[in-house]
């Protein structure tokens, strides 16, 4: 029961994040609620894979983004907007912000490090977080583009 609540809480928070960050990109009003819904389902997929399936964050993000892409195509057909309108804002809660922050933080710490050992330590943290951050973003976009390009005809004709 607790696990189900945690998954739902994760989805709710992702929906709020997806809607809020999505609004910055000015999607059509009717599309905004779908951004939140898709963000929730995509993030819940990733949450389940990481926390219940023990999957690494990179393939888990790819799978979450694949779900986002599929749902975006369904919604795009319904609302007659490009799938990117839903898919890109819905991906934003999955952007590995903390990894990006730790990369920059470790880089700055490496700049101010006093000795070789300390410098190597911070450089290691910078590189390890940076690699994960980059691959999560690439995985997310690849996962999103697979359904968009499989259903290319729908993706590029929904605004008819």
């Amino acid at each position: 029961m607790t696990t189900v609540l945690q998954i739902l809480a994760d989805g709710l928070l992702a929906a709020v994040a997806g809607t809020g960050f999505g609004a910055i990109s000015n999607p059509p009003r009717i599309a905004l609620k779908y951004c939140g819904l898709i963000a929730a389902l995509g993030h819940m997929t990733r949450y389940c894979l990481i926390n219940l399936g023990g999957v690494h964050i990179v393939p888990a993000s790819l799978s979450g983004a694949f779900v986002v892409g599929l749902l975006a195509i369904i919604c795009a057909k319904r609302v007659k907007c490009p799938p990117e309108t839903f898919a890109f804002p819905a991906l934003l809660p999955m952007i590995p912000g903390i990894y990006a922050y730790k990369t920059v933080q470790a880089f700055l710490l490496a700049l101010t490090a006093s000795g070789e050992e300390q410098f190597n330590h911070f450089l290691y943290i910078c590189e390890s977080n940076g690699i994960i951050c980059s691959f999560v973003i690439i995985g997310m976009v690849v996962g999103l583009l697979i359904p968009i390009y499989i259903f290319k005809r729908i993706s590029f004709s929904v605004t008819k």
């Binding site: 994760d10 928070l13 992702a14 709020v16 994040a17 997806g18 809607t19 809020g20 960050f21 609004a23 910055i24 990109s25 000015n26 999607p27 059509p28 599309a31 993030h43 007659k80 907007c81 490009p82 990117e84 309108t85 890109f88 804002p89 991906l91 934003l92 809660p93 952007i95 912000g97 903390i98 990006a100 922050y101 730790k102 920059v104 933080q105 700055l108 710490l109 101010t112 973003i137 690439i138 997310m140 976009v141 690849v142 999103l144 583009l145 590029f156 004709s157 605004t159 008819k160």
Partner: protein
């Protein structure tokens, strides 16, 4: 006389071609400015061009786009346009994509589309207050996702309200986007350090500080960049990536300035 008429006809054709080419260039420039992917822009332009008997080539450079339009007689015309400086706008992307379909299906002529185009650029946007509240709630939710406690979530919500207000106000004054990002990150991070300045109010002060500036991370440009990279638009992918990286670097500058002001050492983090 015949030569004069032929020359006049030629100049009319050339002027039509020039006008249509300028329209396609403006269309591409606005689509690029509002955050559309290169593959969508290319498809939209080709769709309109083939419906009106033209063939079109689009060259996308970091700050400009060049459209070369050729008619059935082999006459061609090129027009270069500066990429419009617009915020991401999916509603505009939708309206312009819809226009391309209406031209392709002969529901409107190219001339009518050219007349309608400037009106389509002036669509509604969310009010500043709505945007402010939605972004503050989104960033607070982000903090919670990353494991922040209730107090950290509150700190992030306030930090985002202040930081995003700076962004809205400075952007309205047409301040350079780098200065806007540095100032907004600085304002948000100063509030985000509350957990360090007042020890004990939250047990996740590091999450609060890290999340306080995340609303400024240019997520859509990063995603667009990888999208363009995977669809063979390497130059545009690189230029979008560089711009997004510059914004990220500006966030770091603002964050570092806040650390210095609040006398927080990187080693405290």
């Amino acid at each position: 006389m015949t030569t004069m008429t032929a020359m006049n006809n030629l100049s009319v054709v050339q002027s039509d071609l020039g006008r249509d080419c300028a329209f396609f260039a403006e269309y591409a420039s606005n689509m690029l400015g509002c955050g559309a992917t290169c593959s969508r822009i290319q498809k939209n332009i080709r769709r309109m061009a083939s419906a009106t008997g033209y063939s079109v080539e689009l060259t996308i450079l970091p700050a400009h786009c060049i459209v070369t339009l050729s008619d059935a007689d082999g006459l061609s015309y090129s027009h270069s346009s500066t990429i419009a400086d617009l915020p991401n706008d999916y509603a505009l992307n939708t309206r312009l994509s819809n226009l391309s379909w209406r031209v392709a299906e002969n529901k409107v002529s190219l001339k009518e589309a050219e007349t309608e185009f400037p009106h389509l650029l002036k669509g509604p946007r969310y009010s500043r207050l709505t945007l402010l509240l939605l972004v503050a709630a989104a960033n607070a939710a982000f903090c919670r996702i990353f494991g922040g406690d209730i107090m950290a979530t509150g700190i992030v919500a306030i930090a985002t309200l202040i930081g995003f207000s700076f962004k809205i106000l400075l952007s309205a004054q047409h301040v350079n986007y780098m200065a806007v990002t540095v100032a907004s990150a600085f304002a948000a991070a100063v509030v985000g350090t509350a957990g360090y300045v007042f020890p004990g109010i939250t047990s996740t002060e590091d999450v609060a500080l890290a999340t306080s500036v995340l609303f400024l991370i240019p997520g859509i440009p990063y995603i667009n960049s990888v999208n363009d990279l995977l669809t063979d638009h390497y130059l545009c992918a690189f230029s979008r990536f560089v711009k997004a990286t510059i914004i990220t670097a500006c966030i770091t500058v603002g964050l570092t300035a806040a650390f210095l002001l609040m006398k927080i050492s990187f080693f405290d983090l």
